[in-house]
């Protein structure tokens, strides 16, 4: 809603400047988003009287004008086709300025002196889309006599600033000039003056009847008939006010309809009386599939939730949204029917949304119009048609339905208001604050009964009154306090939340940076790094890349590496903590699983001058994960199981991660082909299910007394098949040692010279410790020999 200060002043006297006005309105709850100042960047703009126009001797399209600018007559060259003698125009004099940084200088145009410029509306700052047709390709010409040399801005009603209201959805009451005036009154005081409606009815009773077939569709419909109107331009002040409100003037009848809409927030519709096709108006819900052609010449197929205005036979308008083609007002219109009605807000919203026809009218109807303004708007339009279109108002109006103009009552109390706000207002203060809003209060001890006029039917409950008191009284006056809770409870992270923070900080300490990616991805990526082939799909995606919810964190982490690689960053190590979404069908909520994903490529901990680094390979990723598992105290329960079958992963360099019996994730190198397709170097990824990891409860640390006796270690070297996982050897050793074995440490793996091609040599250190007494060599041998035997039995050859 754009509110002109000059126009607002008609409704309530404005004594402050625009900045204070808009600041206070903003603090009062209606955000003034922008101030359009039509006086900015304009200098030396006067009214000129064109005395004479003659053809420029050297240019076909230019005219030489003698223009009286008050004190003298100037020669001004003008290229506009509509320039003519004996008219009043807007002149920017030499030394003047126009919006867009234009400076007017004395100039010679094709040899002829030009002292100033005759302006179009565009040139003085009116956006082209709002300029009326008659001035679109030329200069602005005043409709009537002016004083030459007078300041042109006030003459053209642009000595003005316009506030752009950014209204919250509850403040439909301020979608009108009168609403803006009531808000101004609440904040600054003063009195609201209503527009004139003093027309004279002719002795010709209104002859169009009204029937609302369904009061749910149309609760109230009223009309008046105005005959003998003369279609022409509306007066300049009305046109300019419409322009300032963001509406392009068309002709006096259409403009009056829009003007009254802006005055009262009550949309009107004007029908051509002679084209309706009957003398009755019947409103109803449309029939499913019913057809009508709207005034934009489009045939519309209607739904049963649409509301239509009919002539008893066929629709003549789509209620509140758009008029019909044959009943619209044209240049030939002589007699008009003014409609002022209240329509079903939900219907209007559905219809305008479905047909993508949102307008000043529909946006007001869908919020519900104020019943108290339905009839005043009808009267006002009749008055303006009489005055500015020469119309004759038929006597009386016809209407069907009921208007609820009595308003409502909200009961509350001083204590309630004070309790909710944390203030100590007196009843009189509350009453006074509400009266500024035009809300009358009946006081009974501390109980308050507040009368709510229909224009403020957004106020419905006691809490709404609390808000009105607070916002008009001012939130600066609200004291500050801290809650006094019934019970004091400690604030702390849950086990899962604190463990998650620890994991994140640990990964960061290990050199991985935290990334955050989008949960929406492409269909293709949703099927990667997962055994699920489908993700949850959006009904209306914005793009194919963001159409499906992710099934894995890895695809976007890969994107992150590709992005960084192409920006000269080859060493990339990232992790992400986020949800993936396991679809259970489009109609139910999915399983949301919190995952930890990681990606590493290049080198880590590089110190090139010392020739040292940690390669970002499988074992680096495994080591990073192990450190997390160690921190969580679950490392002993974790197993890595070789796995094939992920098409994106290297089949020989990928492991599933098992926590006890449960598969909680995977780690591995990307498939060389996948790497090539993405232009990646060797890259390793991992993804684990955090929910399962964090579910493990371990309680407190168990301290163990330090051993008093020394441990003894034995190194063994054995030859095993190349394919035998070392974990198999460790399992045999741990299974065979009856007691005292405290550590099994693989310290060398070798395959090369002196070892058969399909074999490898593995060196393992076993550490024994008896916590009760010093271990003797004999005692160790008693335990160690069975271990060696067990390895031999399994076919492993011990080396010297």
């Amino acid at each position: 809603m754009r509110v002109s200060k000059e126009w607002l002043n008609d409704f309530i006297e404005i004594k402050t400047d625009i900045n204070e006005l808009s600041e206070k309105i903003t603090r009062g709850g209606i955000e003034v988003d922008d101030i359009i100042d039509y006086t900015a960047d304009i200098k030396k703009l006067v009214v000129g009287y064109v005395e004479e126009v003659s053809q420029h001797p050297n240019a076909d399209k230019l005219n030489i004008c003698r223009v009286n600018t008050g004190e003298e007559v100037k020669q001004i060259v003008c290229g506009a086709e509509n320039v003519r003698a004996d008219t009043y125009v807007i002149v920017c004099q030499v030394g003047g300025r126009l919006p867009g940084g234009i400076k007017i200088k004395k100039a010679k145009l094709r040899g002829e002196v030009s002292e100033g410029m005759i302006c179009s509306l565009d040139e003085i700052g009116i956006p082209g889309e709002y300029v009326p047709k008659e001035y679109q390709d030329g200069i602005f010409i005043f409709q009537d006599e002016q004083e030459a040399g007078a300041d042109a801005l006030p003459a053209v009603y642009l000595d003005d600033q316009v506030m752009e209201f950014d209204l919250t959805p509850n403040r439909k009451d301020a979608l009108s000039m009168i609403g803006a005036a009531y808000e101004t009154k609440a904040l600054f005081g003063g009195a609201v003056k209503r527009p004139d409606v003093g027309f004279v009815e002719v002795d010709d009773p209104v002859d169009v009847t009204v029937v609302n077939a369904d009061s749910e569709a149309v609760p109230y419909y009223s009309l008046r008939v105005v005959k003998d109107v003369k279609i022409g331009p509306a007066p300049t002040w009305m046109q300019i006010r419409l322009i300032k409100a963001g509406i392009r003037p068309i002709n006096n009848v259409v403009d009056i309809s829009n003007y009254v809409l802006l005055e009262y927030g009550q949309p009107l519709h004007m029908f051509d009386y002679d084209q309706i096709g009957s003398s009755e108006i019947v409103t109803r819900f449309a029939e499913e599939g019913e057809k009508m052609t709207t005034l934009d010449d489009k045939e519309r197929s209607l739904k049963s939730s649409d509301v239509v205005i009919t002539n008893g036979k066929e629709p003549i308008a789509l209620a509140g949204v758009m008029g019909g083609d044959f009943s619209e007002v044209t240049d030939e219109t002589k007699n008009v029917v003014i409609e002022s009605a209240a329509f079903n807000p939900v219907s209007i919203r559905k219809t305008s949304g479905r047909l993508n026809l949102r307008s000043e009218a529909s946006s007001r109807f869908e919020k519900g119009v104020s019943h108290e303004f339905v009839l005043p708007a009808l009267e006002r339009a009749a008055y303006l048609l009489e005055k500015y279109a020469g119309g004759k108002v038929s006597s009386g109006y016809n209407a069907d339905g009921e208007l609820d103009t009595s308003g409502s009552v909200i009961k509350t109390s001083r204590d309630f208001i004070n309790n909710r706000l944390g203030m100590t207002l007196e009843t009189a203060e509350i009453e006074e604050t509400l009266s500024k809003l035009g809300l009358e209060t009946t006081v009974n001890e501390d109980e308050l009964e507040i009368n709510i006029p229909s224009r403020r039917d957004d106020l419905q409950i006691a809490e709404d009154i609390t808000e009105e008191v607070a916002r008009i009284y001012g939130y600066d006056a609200l004291p500050t306090s801290l809650p006094r809770f019934e019970n004091i409870t400690p604030g702390k992270l849950t086990d899962e939340q604190s463990k998650l923070r620890i994991i994140r900080h640990q990964l960061e300490a290990l050199g991985l940076s935290q990334s955050i990616n989008y949960a929406l991805t492409s269909k293709e990526k949703a099927a990667q790094f997962t055994d699920r082939t489908e993700g949850l799909k959006l009904l209306m995606p914005m793009s194919e890349d963001r159409a499906v919810l992710r099934n894995s964190l890895i695809p976007h982490l890969v994107d992150n590496v590709v992005y960084n690689n192409s920006r000269q960053q080859k060493d990339v190590q990232l992790f992400e903590v986020g949800r993936i979404f396991i679809s259970k069908g489009q109609d139910t909520q999915p399983d949301e699983v919190e995952k930890l994903g990681g990606i590493i490529t290049g080198q880590m901990n590089r110190t090139d001058w010392l020739g040292s680094h940690v390669p970002a390979d499988f074992y680096a990723a495994k080591g990073i994960l192990d450190s997390v598992f160690e921190k969580l105290g679950i490392l002993d329960n974790i197993n890595y199981i070789p796995v094939e079958g992920y098409p994106e992963m290297h089949p020989g360099r990928t492991a599933e991660i098992a926590l006890g019996e449960s598969r909680v994730g995977f780690v591995g190198e990307l498939h060389p082909k996948y790497e090539k397709d993405h232009d990646l170097n060797q890259t390793v990824v991992f993804e684990v299910n955090l929910d399962e990891l964090l579910d493990v409860k371990l309680g407190s640390i168990e301290y163990e007394v330090l051993p008093k006796y020394p441990s003894i270690s034995r190194d063994i070297a054995l030859v095993a098949g190349r394919d035998v996982p070392v974990s198999t050897l460790v399992d045999i050793i741990e299974g065979a040692a009856k007691k005292y074995l405290v550590d099994v440490y693989v310290f060398d793996v070798y395959d090369g010279e002196h070892i058969e091609d399909d074999k490898k040599s593995v060196a393992i250190r076993l550490t024994y410790l008896n916590k009760e007494e010093t271990l003797t060599d004999e005692a160790v041998e008693d335990i160690h020999q069975p271990v060696l035997e067990a390895l031999k039995v399994e076919g492993f050859v011990l080396r010297g």
């Binding site: 959805p169 808000e467 609200l478 004291p479 849950t494 949960a519 990232l574 909520q589 999915p590």
Partner: protein, 355 residues
């Protein structure tokens, strides 16, 4: 008694000692004089040629000679060791200005930093942290928050629907609704709910279809709007600096009544006016209000007995304002040159004030 032999030995020894340069020749010299077959030991053999009366004195002189040589050898030995150490140290000198062995540290994401700071502040006030679903039902995302299907305010949120009743949550407020419902209208509530939210927006410098929110909710028997103002004022001072002030502007949210927008005085220009605050001196940072009675009633709370406040803010926006990040897309591109700027710890001081 002739002791000239002793003097001669001592002189010879001293001369030899002068030429010693390493511990090995020193050891040889020691054997040469003090060893079993050494010169000093040889002197003792002279004893038998002396009278019984002379022997003790002679013996004593030989011992004196032995001790004096021994101590000179020890002295020399220490000197040699010291010199050797000196030489070793000289050889071992490092260029301490060369880079150390790198132990890379990764960086926390700026959004994550902001969320942790905000969480810690409210944990200190006794709040719990609650999380909810990112894929929500229409009921919890809208209806339970006083946004029935026909509500015009639904226009404010263009949402990603998955089906008629399922959508990506447009705000963290459904967590409120679920927590309230779980407490069955009996218990007090003090929670903050951080999380990702989704709106059907085209991504550009200031819009992102995915961003984060933190919602706060307090319900108890005696909660006033002044408590909301006090809590948020404390929050602003704690997170944005002790000189910050807040101001409340009336606004509208379907789930609160009264509703306010909360501005904080600009932390960049301290309220004088700058590009961050668009010359107003104030920055809009939060939406807040008193919980709408319909929301309480729908969850089973008696809205006459219980009241409460709720507030919500966007960590993305806070991060952008705090660090001057010019494009919200940076937060989701994961460019290391961006993320790695957020490594160091932060404190309440001015930048480099004590360096």
């Amino acid at each position: 008694m002739d002791t000239s032999g002793m003097s001669q030995i001592l002189e010879e020894f001293k001369a030899s000692l002068e030429t010693v340069e390493d511990s090995r020749s020193l050891q040889d010299l020691k054997v040469q004089y003090l060893g079993k077959k050494g010169k000093v030991t040889g002197l003792m053999k002279e004893m038998k040629n002396l009278s019984k009366e002379e022997r003790p004195e002679y013996g004593q002189k030989v011992n004196e000679l032995r001790e004096s040589i021994d101590s000179m050898i020890n002295e020399k030995s220490e000197a040699l060791e010291a010199a050797a150490l000196e030489e070793r140290l000289a050889n071992e000198t490092l260029d301490v200005t060369l880079p150390g062995r790198k132990f890379n540290i990764g960086s926390q994401h700026p959004i994550s930093r902001i969320i942790e700071d905000i969480e810690d502040f409210f944990l200190g006030l006794g709040y719990e942290i609650q999380e909810g679903y990112e894929v929500e039902t229409d009921y919890y995302n809208f209806e339970a928050l006083n946004l029935p299907k026909s509500h015009p305010a639904r226009d404010m949120q263009d949402s990603f629907y998955i089906s008629e009743e399922i959508l990506l949550r447009t705000h963290t407020s459904p967590v409120q609704a679920r927590v309230l419902e779980e407490r069955e209208g009996k218990e007090a509530v003090k929670i903050i709910c951080p999380g990702k939210v989704y709106r059907r927006d085209s991504d550009d410098a200031t819009h992102s279809h995915q961003f984060t929110q933190i919602e706060g909710l307090v319900i108890d028997k005696n909660i006033h709007m002044s408590d909301l103002k006090g809590t948020l004022e404390l929050f602003a001072k704690e997170i944005f600096g002790s000189e910050r002030e807040i101001r409340l502007r009336p606004s509208f949210f379907p789930f609160t009544e009264p509703s306010v927008e909360v501005d904080i005085s600009c932390f960049k220009c301290k309220g004088k006016g700058c590009n961050v605050c668009k010359n107003s001196g104030w920055i809009e940072i939060l939406g807040a209000g008193m919980v709408h009675p319909n929301v309480l009633e729908m969850a089973g709370y008696d809205s006459r007995e219980y009241s409460g406040f709720a507030f919500g803010m966007g960590p993305d926006r806070v991060a952008m304002l705090k660090y001057g990040i010019e494009d919200i897309r940076h937060l989701y591109t994961n460019d290391l040159r961006f993320i790695n700027q957020f490594k160091q710890t932060e404190d309440g001081g001015e930048r480099n004030e004590s360096l």
